[in-house]
């Protein structure tokens, strides 16, 4: 390893772990000791990354308050140093961290709230895609409908929340007192997407969530209707399927349909 490479490794280790080896190669300034000057980099590292977490998780920050959020943020920074050149992606692992790390994993609403904010952030700058409109659907003859398959818009994503995090999110967004955190008997099935430039989400009924998931997997409409028939009134399955499909198209969550 070259001197230059070794010095960079020492400099970085000093920031990440508090090791002082590199101080032997740093000069005092005319007005200040080297420990303080090097400390500018040490302080900036943690504070910049925690600030990035605050920006990406505004409502989790509101929910926890400054002190608890920053403590959690520094724990995340320590556990998962950034490995991506773009700060945009630093917070991607936060939901998983909150789901697995003490003491946060004892409060599952935190991981769910972070997961919802992450999904909305991801929808905000997801790739562009064509939007399927109802006139495109009218081009298909009735006998083709059983074979129709659909492609979700790149911004659309599904997540299941085990807690009432969506109600907490809504209250915080409206500057209201959030409800007490609660674990749900059945997970809340959430669809997130971007309408024009605005990220949106809504909770789906169980059978609509099932139909979305399977449609996203490429299952054709005819089979989707057979699957819907196992959830509720079999005779109304096709109408319910068409209704869900209409809702997806008008809310800009689908990008293509194909009869192949």
């Amino acid at each position: 390893m070259s001197d230059f490479a070794r010095q960079q490794a020492d400099f970085q280790r000093g920031i990440l772990t508090g090791d002082d080896t590199v101080l032997a190669e740093i000069l005092d300034s005319p007005r200040e000791k080297r420990e303080t000057l090097y400390g500018v980099y040490r302080y900036a590292y943690g504070s910049r990354l925690v600030e990035a977490l605050r920006n990406d998780h505004e409502l989790l920050h509101s929910y926890l308050g400054d002190e608890t959020f920053d403590e959690m943020g520094h724990a995340y920074v320590k556990a998962r140093p950034s490995e991506h050149p773009n700060l945009r992606w630093f917070s991607q692992g936060l939901p998983e961290f909150l789901r697995s790390a003490e003491p946060y994993c004892d409060h599952p609403v935190l991981a769910d709230l972070a997961a919802l904010e992450k999904a909305l952030n991801d929808a905000f700058d997801a790739a562009e895609g064509e939007l399927l409109d109802l006139t495109a659907m009218a081009a298909f003859a009735p006998e083709q409908w059983n074979d129709l398959t659909f492609r979700p818009h790149p911004s659309a994503a599904r997540l299941d929340l085990s807690t009432n995090a969506s109600a907490v999110w809504m209250a915080l967004k409206n500057n209201e007192t959030p409800p007490d955190a609660a674990t749900l008997e059945e997970p809340a099935r959430i669809l997130v997407w971007r309408q024009d430039t605005t990220p949106m989400f809504r909770e789906l009924p169980a059978e609509e969530a099932m139909m979305w998931d399977e449609a996203a997997n490429g299952i054709p409409f005819g089979v989707l209707c057979e699957m819907l028939a196992t959830y509720d009134d079999p005779d109304g399955a096709a109408a319910r399927g068409a209704g869900y499909l209409h809702g997806w198209i008008t809310s800009a969550t689908l990008t293509a349909v194909s009869a192949d």
Binding site: S2, Q7, Q8, Q12, E32, Y41, D125
Partner: protein, 300 residues
Amino acid sequence: MNVASRLPNSPAAVERPLQSDKPPFLGFGLGLRAQHYDEILGGNPPIDWFEVISENYMLPGGQPLRVLDRICERYPVVMHGVSLSIASTAPPNFEYLQGLKDLARRVEPKWISDHLCWTGVHGKNLHDLLPIPYTSEALDHVVSRVQLVQDFLGRAIVLENVSTYVQFNNSEMTEWEFLAELSRRSGCWLLFDINNVYVSAFNHGYDPMTFLNGIPADRVVQFHMAGHSHMGTHIIDTHDHPVCEDVWDLYVAAIKRFGRVSTMIERDDNIPPLDELVLEVNRTREIAKKVLPPLGKQAG
């Protein structure tokens, strides 16, 4: 046939300063920030050009890129990155470089800039503009990296002096000697951050004019003007205040030495309304008008 004899020399072995036309003078600009999107697109602020943070638009899609497309239709744009990590001893991140190249294809920037610094090694990114020792070993390394990046991007890049808080005891030359040599040997252009010169000069106890006079005048294509936070014994480059009077004075000296250089106000935190920053942009313009002869009468 000896295969090795047919291979080109390694980049480190050959000095290949990229000969490129000096980028054009763009006038007096501002760093594009999301807080001002609506005002800029809804009005017609008297700003000649915008500098965009490259990483803010290295995204799959959505509103930031849509806004950027509209800005590019109306203004000259330059791309300014924070993650090139040109001085890192770690292998270059070619995925990042490809992302930068893809964005440049979309933006068609007047130039692409980043900083003379490193941001991490061993797979980590500290998201900071970290200092280097000014040694011949470091210079050789950075020259070869600049050449590689310029070859990859197919254009000369522009590198900025950063604010530094520490100096290394193994430095063999000054920062300005390092920058001058880097530019001469690699062909890169220089972004002269006047606030950073002021900050580093105070922190390390030298005269900012010595720095300014040590930079080759014909290599500077852009000025940055920004504010900082004074901690008494040292200054931190926070970009969260208006430009201070000492830095305005240094700007006058910089114009006298470097001539007509594209200049911009850089504000990254505690971001005020657009009007307030336009006043600072206007001040850069007015000072240049006073100090420089009118266009057409300038020597050379």
